[in-house]
Amino acid sequence: MDIFTISTLLATIRMAVPISLAALGGLFSESTGVINIALEGIILMGAFAGTIITNATGSPLLGILMAVVAGIGMALIHAIASVTFKANHIISGVALNLFATGVTFFLALVLTGGSQISVESTLPKFLGISPVIYVTVAIFFLSGFFLYRTRLGLRLRATGEHMAAVDSVGISVTKMRYLGVLISGALAGLGGGFLAIEQANFFTKGMSAGRGYIGLASMIFGKWTPWGAAGAASLFGFSQALQFRISIPFVPDEFLQMLPYLITIAVLVGAVGRATPPAEDGNHFIKEG
């Protein structure tokens, strides 16, 4: 029984890509104070849109782009509901997840007559792995730089920490929040596109299978930082990769499945270091006067 092989490493990376992109998406959204549990539905929508467009155009690149666009579309609804109309962030997220589950299943049946659609072409591999993996790594480097070293990134994060202060220096809280939520939709949508087109080579109903929530868990375990999120997503990706490869004596698969959620609770109760969410998480901006 060999756990630490090249093939396990590659499987870990493949598993980690959608999770880490969802985690980074959650991070962008929450850095502006908007909780986004619609990540799960966004991944699903991205996976579906990516599959359909890849098959319709024969271009997996267009498919991936469409997954990103679909993710942004879902995020836009979340932003309209929770930023413009100040609806509860969680409820809006729950609604979008229900919507994505229903609409992707419905359209799969209408368009193909079945609930599973195979992807007809994938991106050419570069050095043996999908180019989306390189893009994901680059996105993490860029995000780290963007959030901590650029003016706009600092403004995004300031919005999540103190909305009134951001508003008082003439920056639009609404614009910052829309930007954070839309970026999160693009990232999770990309994760969904990768999941269907590059990883599974098919779309099937409900295929996000909790990845959005594991992404959320990674974000928390990673203490709301890009590299922490990437590390946590890799750990959870590793535990997913193990589930498909080997059975470890005395550790049932189901306990590996629980791992991300158990760790998240442990982090939240302070058993594994303290994690502090952005101060304005879940709050609405109401201008005085």
């Binding site: 909780i35 549990i37 609804i77 309209i80 509901a81 109309f85 100040k86 609806a87 509860n88 969680i90 409820i91 809006s92 729950v94 609604a95 979008l96 997840n97 229900l98 919507f99 589950t101 229903g102 609409v103 299943f105 419905f106 049946l109 209408v110 909790g210 929530y213 959320l216 868990a217 928390i220 049932p252 189901e254 306990f255 499945q257 629980m258 991300p260 959620y261 158990l262 998240t264 609770i265 939240l268 109760v269 302070g270 969410p277």
Partner: protein, 363 residues
Amino acid sequence: MNSESRRDLLFNVLMNGVAPLVAILIAFAIGGIVITSLGTNPFAFFSRMLSLNFGSMRGISQMIYRATPYFFTAMALSFAFKAGLFNIGAEGQMFVGGLALAWVGFTFTWLPFPILFILCLVAGFLGGALWGAIPGYLKVKRGAHEVITTIMMNFIAIALVQYIVQNHFMNPDWGIPHTPTVAEGAYAPSLGKIIPWFPAGTRANIMFLVAIILAGLTLVLLQRTKLGYEIRATGLNPNSAEYAGINISSRTVMTMAISGGFAGMATANFILGPGSHYFLKSEYGGIGFSGIAVGLLGRNNPLGIILAAILFGFLENGALGVQLYFPNVPRQIVEIMQAIILIVLVIVLEIARKFLKRLQKRG
């Protein structure tokens, strides 16, 4: 009528009447457009749905059967809401409670009806209550936000229940993992046996009456008891509640436990009611999450929740039946409509709130 009570009336009508109706109408309109785009007449589609549900006592009974579980998961959300808590863990609480009630049902098989039936419900309540109390405790003791912990507890429950059923309760010959069947003493009688005008052999069962009784009891608990007052006070303003001598910590844990207990009884309709009589995890998925929509549509009021649950039962039962007549419209159309109801509702409620606030400012 003075201006204040007139404002209260306007608030009630707008928030509890107009807003849910607008959300439902918009969902039907969008559903209708989608159905039209598939080349089907939406009026024929929805009127067929109407006659399938209300055209016969059997239809009504099937609709009630589908509606009943939603009541319980919706109550889980809404009861916690009263104390200002956001329990979105009904899905996990439902699974843990469901397994607990099935276990009692197939273990204490010598007990007669109604003792075993009642014990099953108690076990379901306690299982869900345990699963709900843990996030409550973690919030009180360690400051962990219940939204995240209840989400995480959902997935822990799903894996745990799967593990237990597969490794301890299941007979490998069955193929699909499910528990043994519960004893006859645990069966929830069909409504046909109790109420003369329900046809015999329908699946709607006594759990629907349990739901109605629980709705009434919850109203009494919240409005007429000290505990209910303390729960509501905690929800309205935790700081002043604490100042008034209410132990917020214990009320938080208790509210989460009761809330989880409601969800824990959701699957009794399927397991104890007429049907397969065993716990089959895959049959219940999503009822916990949809309960969030039902609770909000019912405006967190037990009686409103009964109506909202019936609407969801109407859509689900209608979708199952209408497929025979319009096979080109997948029944997932109603899932889309349910999601649209929820998203439109939250937006319409905020618009109504803003409108009322503006009215108040004007005086």
